[in-house]
Subunit: 355 residues, 3 copies
């Protein structure tokens, strides 16, 4: 894109995917923007997961020094779309470290942004006050845009700010992948030597793309990813190429039962009926894509069932939920709680706290 | 209800009034859900009120150890309907104890709940992050539902969560009753040996039901409750039976002036014009149910005038408000401030803090 | 207004401009409501700016004692209209002092206020829980109304509350003026011996009125205010008289280029196209009132360009913004960050913290 065309128009958020390159962590989290799983390599994951386990233990122990880690530090929470779960998880993480959280009292969707102010100026405003900014925004590239402008702002002010993505539209949701992989590492000592089965809409599912890539970046040894989706909702080739290149064995199928009994980790995601032209097409495949208590009982005894939540019909009826929740194979609540622990570790390290 | 019908439908919030039985406090608040006044008995009230007075004094003294009581602990605030007063009171209470508060940045009404997620899943999400959850919800039974699902969740995760009701529809509002009774105890050394007059809509008024029952549970000695309402808005028989069974003397009337000059505590509540078929019916009785400066001056000199707030026409015009506010008999602002002190005590004890 | 008419109607917010007189600071900030620049005199400004610089340095030093200054103290944030920037700045300021912030979880616009409760009762509710209340409200006089009712409330409760205005409609925005003047003092050792040029809509611009008056109250020595506006948007005579009376030299013009090369501080504000009857009239003057990179390069090398933000077309295109942001003359981000430092100082002093 030429400078002259930039001159003419408002720069589109998606362009920042090209204008900004996220820095590799390379063993040093301090002050880094966290917007893509591709910033991480094995040593970074080992570091953050060690800190995650340590912080979790310190919470259990009611360690009073925990609240010194981010004392006096501020996180700004900019949620341009609702995501109570992610929002609360980040807020809780910052507060359990002793830090504080600033949100727009009336919600950013009522704020100046919606009076015509552009995203960049809102980012710069919060950047003037906070040490860390968590941004969730429906447009792909929004966290890249935030990082781009914060780098420029940080040169001009006293207190620099790092952005952490809370999910940008169809783009990435790196902390979700970090917590998913942590759960696999924590409960199954993985992903090495495991068969991990991802089920659902693998074409549009942001969560599974990021997780699959992160498993590749881990440098997994003897890991098989089974990718179970309807043919029309296969994982994109770019993601597939990425994980194969990183040495992960891949098995694609539309038949869950082909892989269920070898599965160690069953990662379930939503499949939207709207993706199908005809209701009959959807119903024909629902045996494979709607979890039920009976289905879970057919899985190996030591399988773990994961789900990014919130869940809908892909996990059956509310009564099914109740029954699934009691099954020790279901670990999605631990997974959700792990989100807080992983985000605590990530933020402590970005703040440069001595953990 | 049979299991098969549960299987078919989403379970209704109101059903949880039967599915979940709140635990008695029995001198131990730690980790208990607080959703009904019926969990309390005299010793529990004595304990919480002693702590309330202690915490209030420590605030006045700017005691720096106060913020150690809930340091590192989190309260999630889930307000599914607006109630600024109750919301702020709980938040302020937690923060004055040194704890933190997590809310949905954009308000829960914009959150996943309204994207079709059920209450149970929202409760479980916040339950994964918080030590205490305060829930306010328009449906009766909602805090029972939260308690039910939290008990199941707490078995699966690291950090257990206790729910405290902030009011559920036409159901209960236990902390309002606790603060009301504290105010009576604090200012009038009651409720023993007092005549307490409850005025207004006693049929639909959740506040007065809970207060009346709590006075019964106190095991009041020589307490008279005067219940002043239009005949069509009498207190329900279930509440009446409860308090009579607990030894409270009751005097029902529709004529305030019959009991005003024996009254020690005058508890005023709203009466909605819409309850009356004809405007004339409402106007005919308004002398008894609209507070004015002149009316208050007819009450005994040492009466205290209480009101759960917010107030509307039942307390006269805005100018009447100004005049009433200056009258030393009016204690509704102390009552409101006491709400924060009582909630501090309650949360400190539920958290197991060494107060 | 006679007492009898007060008796009849709800008192209008604007009336409180006459009913309540803000107290002069006179060297003592503790417990004072802060609602007008006219409360400040030179010694007060010297005090607050000394504290501001000290607190800024302690943030840079990560001074752990900073969070003791407001530990255990509460700020209630009542934003009845959206202003993310001001809202976050106050919240961040309180939290960096170690204090806490209470907001309505769902935003006050959904709260009881909008169910018919009057402003006074909402102010009293928050006043029962908080040490400091920040109020932003679209109606002129609203912060005066808050101060009026808090004085009455504070006599009745345990914890008194001081209000700080976050801007009331077309009225005042005193903390904006305080941070603007601080920026001039900090970066240009002013306002003495400077030429300060205010550009834009000087008739309706609340910000420039308050800043101009505060420069007068400083007792500026050898300060020239250049007031650049279209003839139809001249500064009001009341403000003009105030600053002339306080010894500030004034130069009014509609031609920026007449004063640009003598300017030390260029304070840019929005001019709304809607103020002009015909689009052609607006375009005819836009050379003077739309900032561009080329224009800024014509200003003296050591000029500082200030703007209260958010910015729109009066600062050119988004691409212009990017270029302007890189120009070292542009200090509006430092100015915005200074807002947090000044508000920290102000709140610490109002709380009586030993800074």
């Amino acid at each position: 894109m030429s400078d002259s065309s930039i001159n003419m128009t408002v720069r589109q958020t998606e362009q920042f995917l090209h204008l900004y390159k996220p820095p590799a962590i390379d063993g040093n989290f301090k002050g880094k923007h966290i917007i893509s799983v591709e910033q991480f390599h094995r040593q970074d994951l080992d570091m953050i997961y060690a800190v995650t386990k340590d912080l979790r233990q310190r919470i259990i122990n009611h360690d009073p020094s925990l609240v010194k880690l981010a004392e006096g530090r501020l996180m700004a929470s900019l949620f341009f779309e609702a995501s109570t779960r992610t929002d609360m998880s980040f807020q809780a993480a910052m507060r359990r470290l002793g830090g504080s959280v600033v949100t727009a009292s009336n919600g950013v969707q009522f704020s100046s942004v919606y009076k015509g102010e552009n995203l960049a100026d809102t980012v710069r405003a919060a950047g003037c006050y906070a040490d860390i900014m968590v941004i969730r925004h429906p447009q792909i590239g929004s966290s890249y845009e935030a990082a781009y402008y914060l780098d420029r702002l940080n040169e001009r002010i006293t207190i620099p700010t790092a952005v952490i993505s809370g999910g940008d539209g169809a783009g990435e949701h790196p902390t979700q992948a970090l917590l998913d992989l942590f759960t696999i590492a924590d409960l199954k000592n993985g992903p090495d030597n495991l068969t991990i089965t991802l089920v659902g809409d693998l074409l549009y599912g942001r969560t599974v793309h990021s997780l699959a890539k992160l498993i590749g970046l881990w440098g997994a040894q003897n890991t098989t990813l089974c990718l179970v989706s309807p043919p029309s909702l296969r994982i994109p080739d770019t993601v597939l190429d990425f994980i194969v290149k990183h040495g992960v064995k891949v098995h694609e199928t539309n038949d869950l039962y082909e892989v269920l009994n070898q599965t160690d980790v069953l990662y379930w995601t939503r499949i939207q009926e709207e993706r199908f032209a005809r209701k009959a097409d959807y119903e024909a495949i629902s045996d494979n894509f709607i979890m039920t208590p009976a289905l879970l009982n057919q899985a190996p005894r030591d399988v773990i069932l994961m789900h990014p939540l919130p869940r809908k019909h892909e996990m059956g009826t509310p009564h099914d939920h109740d029954i699934l929740d009691k099954n020790p194979r279901s670990v999605y609540f631990q997974q959700m709680e792990n989100g807080m622990f992983v985000r605590m570790a990530l933020m402590a390290m970005v703040l440069g706290a001595a953990v």
